[in-house]
């Protein structure tokens, strides 16, 4: 029934990644969850092993893999049941901006480091007062003959503390049309005036260094602009398809893992003398969840296939993002219902997935925004 075909090479990549995560990532997750950040060294190790930016062409220092490698990374990272090492944000969301819109100099300067893990990236769009309504962003970038001066605050930025390079969206205060005002800039960590906040305290994604970023009279050379002036909004919209698709892929695998874990738990647990899995209510609940996930998985694979063929599937991806992120939340809630008391303890892995997955229907465009997009594409 699978739509995607993974080659021997893909599966070897997956096996290598799986082994790597087993030995170098999974044993440290509890520690990272407490420390609210993952060490930069693990990014470096991921890079050394060829697990960062696996789709980047060889001419940029990548391994030239296809998007199925990203699917594999999402599948394997879901297995670790944490989100601190958010490699897909770097590999599939931020780096593609540089790959697609960067000048030859920018590509040469940054992409090899992005592959090796020496440069960790973040994308800064959201602001305290501009979430869903991106066009209302207040961060300004004033360009003169030789440089750009940036002022503003960004929030909820993944990899916000670890990042070495930020793809920043900011507006030209003189341009009144908000859709033409936004440009993208590459801001390096350490640039005077660029400060990072502490990792934010949140429900889940505990080991992810999501943070606020502050820009006060940050001066970068004019060559630090990414792409054409005023085209920021278009570039963001163009890249959101892949960003949202990765959310769909990831949440499908997180959902599957929860049902697998819960199924095993219900086999071991007893209700009276019998295994809990013998209960009809338990069996139906597990079957319903597995069915829903299977249907969404097939849709997800279709989306991946179309995306790889270069199709514009913004509407369908928005449908997938809304449905799959609601599904992962619903699945977590239902699995916890079946697990009962043990589910209320952090020792239960589903408890963490429940906390972690709750953000997915909010980030990368809330599901309300997804429905607005789908409606716009469908009815006008």
């Amino acid at each position: 029934m699978e739509i995607l075909t993974f080659s021997k090479g893909h599966l070897e990549f997956e096996e290598r990644l799986g082994n790597f995560l087993d030995t170098e990532v999974i044993p440290d997750i509890e520690k990272w969850e407490k420390e609210k950040i993952v060490p930069k060294s693990i990014w470096k190790r991921m890079g050394e092993q060829g697990f960062l930016c696996p789709c980047l062409p060889r001419k940029f220092g990548g391994t030239g893999g296809d998007f199925l490698h990203s699917v594999i990374v999402a599948r394997q990272l879901a297995r670790t049941n944490h989100n601190g090492l958010a490699a897909f944000i770097h590999s599939d969301i931020v780096v593609p901006y540089i790959e697609s819109y960067g000048s030859a100099d920018q590509q040469k300067k940054y992409l090899p480091g992005c592959v090796s893990g020496d440069i960790i990236t973040a994308v800064a769009m959201t602001e305290p007062d501009a979430g869903s309504d991106l066009a209302s962003m207040a961060t300004t970038a004033v360009e003169n003959n030789k440089d750009v001066v940036i002022n503003g605050t960004k929030t909820f930025i993944s990899n916000g503390v670890n990042c070495d390079l930020v793809v920043l969206a900011a507006r030209d205060p003189d341009e009144k049309d908000p859709h033409k005002a936004v440009s993208l800039y590459l801001v390096e960590s350490g640039t005077p005036g660029f400060k990072k906040g502490k990792p934010l305290e949140k429900m889940g994604w505990k080991s992810q260094d999501t943070a606020e970023l502050f820009f006060t009279d940050v001066r970068i050379p004019k060559a630090g602009r990414l792409g054409k002036k005023g085209r920021g909004f278009k570039m963001l919209m163009a890249k959101l398809q892949q960003e949202r698709l990765v959310c769909v892929v990831s949440t499908v695998y997180f959902s599957k893992n929860m049902v697998d874990w819960t199924t095993n738990y219900m086999k071991k647990q007893r209700t009276g003398p019998k295994p809990s899995i013998n209960s009809q209510a338990v069996r139906f609940a597990l079957v319903e969840m597995a069915t829903e996930i299977k249907i969404v998985e097939v849709f997800m694979e279709k989306l991946v296939q179309q995306h790889m063929a270069g199709k514009n599937i913004i509407k369908e991806t928005s449908m997938g993002k809304y449905f799959a992120t609601d599904l992962v939340k619903r699945t977590a809630l239902r699995c916890l219902d079946l697990i009962g008391d043990f589910g209320s303890l952090e020792e239960c892995p589903v408890a963490r997935t429940f906390r972690d997955s709750r953000i997915t229907s909010i980030f990368a465009g809330t599901n309300e925004i997804m429905k607005e997009i789908i409606a716009r594409f469908s009815f006008s």
């Binding site: 007062d129 949140k202 429900m203 916890l336 219902d337 009962g340 008391d341 209320s344 020792e347 909010i362």
Partner: protein
Amino acid sequence: MDFSLTRFQKSILKAAKEFAKGEFDKDIAADMDKKGKFPENIWKKAAGLGLAGVHMNGEAQGSSLAMTDQVLTAGALCAADSGLGTSVAGACRGAECLYLAGNEAINANFLYPMLDGEKLCACAFSEKSGCLDFSDISATAVDQGKFLILNGKKEYVLFAEPADFFIVLCRVPSDQAPKAETSLLIVEKKTHGIHISPLGEKLGLRMSPVADVEFSNVPVPVSNLVTDPGTGLDIVQKFLIIDQVSRAAMAAGIARGAMDRSLDYTKQRKQFNTFIADFEVTQHKFADMAVQIRSAELLIFEAAWLIDQGRFEKDIAAMALTAASMAAVNVADEAVQLMGGYGYMSEYEVERFYRDAKAIRITHPCGRGLKNSLAKEVIKRKNQWKF
């Protein structure tokens, strides 16, 4: 049928709200939640004011609340803060058992100090987590003259660590009842032979810590027998009904608190030049929340009123807890969504309300066990709806 609150109820509701306003602090709550600590000082103060979540039908000293009053105060405390509210209103749950048993000597030594916030207890009933049926418990206290020697293992005991004493459901074999009928026994924490294994960090209700407790040859004075052998289970069954209603009240309070916070937020947060509260879909979400909360509350009031009438009706209590815990999860979930990225941040509290709501929903007594027992009652009724 009169749905209005009495003057007394209005005044205690006000007192509970004022207490929470004065004593509950957002930062303290976030800190206690993170550390998984029981807010002992706040609980003591609440107990001193009769707000520690015990109903005594106006009989005992220290608290004069009826169940219909108690659900109001518990709800108000949990609306103010889901974590502090549930731990303050839930810490004394065992007092209900002692009150039901009505043993004067025990009450003087254990119940009244508990009502004054001097002693905290933990109910050690369940031996199998998630199981509502206590008829096959195996913890046993053997009479050795002056002392009973207690052996047994209890699972998922709330407040085991901060408690000063345990109320243990166990079997006490005697010549008359060789089958060893159940009884309730008070075991002071300081007694040797008690081993407490904390169950670690929790998903929600973190201020109500939980542990497994093992009793190995624990000597307990005979005078600590709360009930005559054979009546323990009966009291626990009644207690469970009270407990379900009071947990339902907490859940409904959590739902209200989450809704209030998301209302405040969406009324001041603008996106696309529109207050989020002004979007049609947002307004419908609030309408749905209100329906769920109100229906749960009406069930809770009926269930509480039945208890005040001396009618311990399993099904209404189970319905109240089912409806309220579902409402709490749904409403808190929607509150998180309405508050977007901020909803996911601990500073904005609703993520904690959501976790606490889910913890009430899945922990004992709730979930499949509760549904099974409710289903039996409903089917037994054969369309004969009683009111």
